[in-house]
């Protein structure tokens, strides 16, 4: 078995399984903590608040946008770029089709891939540079923030190197980092990809009962 066969085969299955089980374990562990029922008479709906809270925080408030524009651009650029690459990059679609044996959606053209990757890289670099250049972020950041940023960066970088799919070594390098990233993910702050809806929802529900959407 070659290294490429390992990282795309057993390595990927093991890391994917760890990712799925540990992420579910972590989410279930949070949810099972439960909470006491709120018996104060409600002025509005907690359920509507949960949904509204989740949607509202996708959009920055105008009052703060001018101060936090760099974060907004970096954050949106990186996240949208990453998701576009993950879902629409031709090699990803081909890999998933082979894995699941079903036909998926059309891939983005090569020029779109390059632009998207540049936007995602720029966003990630802006966020990471702020992490050590901004006094607030420097104080509150820990090793997990830096490792998460670096691993994601390396996954993206090696993904671009492997774009031609002409060198097995480069493709193996990319898949190797993907496997490591998948294992690291559920134990790290990268889990915010899933926990954000609980957090926004909790606040939204609490405020929704009071008839507000923060």
């Amino acid at each position: 078995m070659t290294i490429l066969e390992f990282v795309e085969g057993p390595g990927f299955y093991v890391s994917g399984t760890i990712f799925a089980l540990a992420a579910l374990w972590r989410l279930a562990g949070i949810i099972r903590l439960g909470k006491k029922k709120d018996i104060a008479p409600a002025r509005g709906s907690a359920f509507t608040g949960f949904l509204k809270g989740n949607l509202r925080h996708f959009f920055p408030r105008g009052l703060f946008a001018q101060r936090t524009w760099m974060h907004l651009l970096g954050g949106y650029g990186f996240h949208l770029g990453l998701f576009a690459l993950l879902l629409f990059a031709a090699p990803h679609i081909a890999f998933a089709e082979k894995l699941w044996g079903i036909e998926l959606w059309p891939a983005m053209p090569r020029w779109a891939f390059i632009i998207t990757a540049e936007v995602a890289f720029a966003g990630l670099i802006v966020l990471w540079v702020r992490r050590f250049s901004d006094p607030v972020m420097r104080l509150i950041s820990d090793w997990d923030d830096h490792i998460g940023s670096w691993l994601t960066f390396l996954v993206m970088l090696t993904g671009c190197l492997a774009l031609q799919e002409s060198h097995d070594a480069l493709r193996a390098l990319h898949m190797g980092f993907v496997d490591i990233w998948l294992i690291y993910f559920p134990f790290s702050r990268l889990m915010h990809s899933f926990t954000f809806f609980l957090s926004r929802g909790a606040t939204g529900a609490s405020y929704g009962r009071k008839g507000m959407t923060p």
């Binding site: 540990a22 374990w25 972590r26 989410l27 279930a28 562990g29 949070i30 949810i31 903590l33 439960g34 909470k35 006491k36 709120d38 018996i39 104060a40 008479p41 002025r43 509005g44 809270g53 989740n54 509202r56 925080h57 920055p60 408030r61 009052l63 703060f64 101060r67 936090t68 974060h71 954050g75 992490r131 901004d134 006094p135 607030v136 972020m137 420097r138 104080l139 509150i140 950041s141 820990d142 923030d145 559920p186 134990f187 702050r189 915010h192 926990t195 954000f196 609980l198 957090s199 926004r200 929802g201 909790a202 606040t203 939204g204 609490s206 405020y207 009071k210 008839g211 507000m212 923060p214």
Partner: protein, 421 residues
């Protein structure tokens, strides 16, 4: 671990339910919350970043309660135990530099309720006895008189007598079977007792039956400010028991932001059962009476006025439109501040900060942000504030910065401008 840190950590962990855990898990350390915090904006000290104030709780959670901590512990990746020194080091961040105003939640991409989490953290601190001296004094006063300023029933009755003389109206005391029980904050009773007279005029005009109680006159809940659930419960129970003994249909929460939240939103949960009466904020009641035509507007106040939104009433209380409707009816020149409403800046003295002398310098510095909001409007002659605590903080700030505007109560304004019968 010392006994103090063990007690604090035990309570911190007990307070960590699914909501708090979600907040601690979702924070991505982006630091956006600093941009919304008046204390950070005033000091520019990164330590005043709201999420940083949660560190002891984050550490305790990761070490003792977070899912997958077992695996991380084997790898040596869980944080060390929270120490007493660390808890004490964080105490000024938890009590002096957070008014639990909740503005940081607005800017947080994860929607984290840092204010609510600080409230839970204070439970651990209060249980361990790590509390600022000013709040301990307030607590001692409450245990002696039920009032954080030590206002006794005798002092209340003296103020009521003065108001009866000033208004020519009888102010009912300890009367059973009426519809409304009015409770006040110490600040109102001692610093602006004319509000009691204003209530009397409004109730008379609206034809409502009401009473003040010598058993339950104090609305301020120091337990909520310190973070002591048992004390908060005791203070809410005092009002609940008296309201139910008198058989009132409504308890009117006064112009005091956190007092409203303490009885309206936290109250039933603290007591552990629904009340046999409804809680209305005085502003909600006035708005209801106005819309029912029971207190029609009369001659409006012509001064240029703006409205300060008390955080616990507006952002965290849900009473957003009512004060605006009342003010529009009562003033000819009402102008909103930039960011008015849900995003308005805190005065800097909520959440017990105004009772904490150690925090005075930082509080006054934070008030400059508020002052700027008002100055930006230009030519404001009066700021209407439906919170007695905020009014006190404003009065301190006006003295400190020699500002030239008046602060007035919304209820007082409504009483002064309503049409005579």
């Amino acid at each position: 671990m010392t006994e103090v840190s063990q007690t604090a950590v035990d309570i911190l962990l007990k307070q960590t339910d699914v909501d708090i855990a979600s907040y601690l898990e979702a924070c991505v350390h982006c630091g956006e919350c600093a941009e919304a915090c008046h204390f950070y904006q005033a000091s520019k000290d990164p330590k005043h970043t709201p999420t940083y104030k949660l560190q002891p709780l984050v550490k305790a959670y990761k070490r003792h309660k977070a899912p997958l901590r077992g695996v991380l512990s084997i790898l040596g990746l869980t944080p060390p135990e929270v120490t007493e020194d660390e808890l004490r080091e964080w105490e000024p961040l938890v009590y002096d530099s957070c008014t639990m105003c909740g503005r940081c939640t607005l800017v947080c991409p994860m929607g984290i309720d840092i204010a609510g989490t600080i409230r839970k953290m204070r439970e651990g601190y209060a249980a361990a006895g790590i509390v600022p001296e000013g709040l301990n004094v307030a607590r001692a006063n409450v245990e002696r008189t039920s009032s954080p300023m030590g206002v006794t029933a005798k002092a209340l009755l003296a103020q009521i007598k003065h108001q009866e003389k000033d208004t020519g109206l009888e102010i009912p005391v300890d009367v059973a079977g009426v519809d409304y029980l009015a409770i006040f904050s110490s600040h109102e009773i001692m610093a602006s007792p004319e509000i009691i007279g204003a209530y009397a005029r409004i109730m008379k005009r609206a034809g409502l039956t009401w009473t003040v109680s010598t058993e339950a006159y104090e609305a301020t809940n120091v337990g909520v400010q310190i973070g002591s659930g048992p004390l908060a419960k005791q203070l809410v129970e005092r009002v609940v028991n008296e309201a139910e003994r008198l058989g009132v249909k409504y308890v009117i929460a006064p112009e005091c932001g956190h007092a409203y939240g303490a009885i309206r939103w936290a109250g039933p949960n603290l007591v552990g059962r629904p009340f046999k009466f409804e809680v209305l904020h005085i502003v909600e009641l006035l708005d209801k009476l106005r819309r029912e035509g029971k207190i029609p507007p009369g001659t409006k106040d012509g001064r240029k006025m703006t409205l300060h939104d008390p955080c616990q009433l507006i952002r965290r209380g849900g009473v957003l439109k009512e004060p605006r409707r009342l003010l529009s009816d009562s003033a000819t020149n009402f102008v909103e501040m930039k960011g008015a409403g849900i995003a308005n800046l805190c005065c800097g003295g909520g959440g017990g900060v105004s009772a904490n002398e150690r925090a005075e310098e930082l509080r006054l510095k934070a008030f400059e942000q508020k002052l700027k909001q008002i100055d930006d409007i230009g030519g404001v002659e009066a700021v209407v504030i439906p919170c007695a605590n905020c009014r006190g903080v404003f009065e301190d700030g006006i003295d400190e910065y020699e500002a030239d505007f008046e602060v007035i109560s919304l209820s007082q304004l409504v009483a002064d401008t309503m049409k005579d019968a």
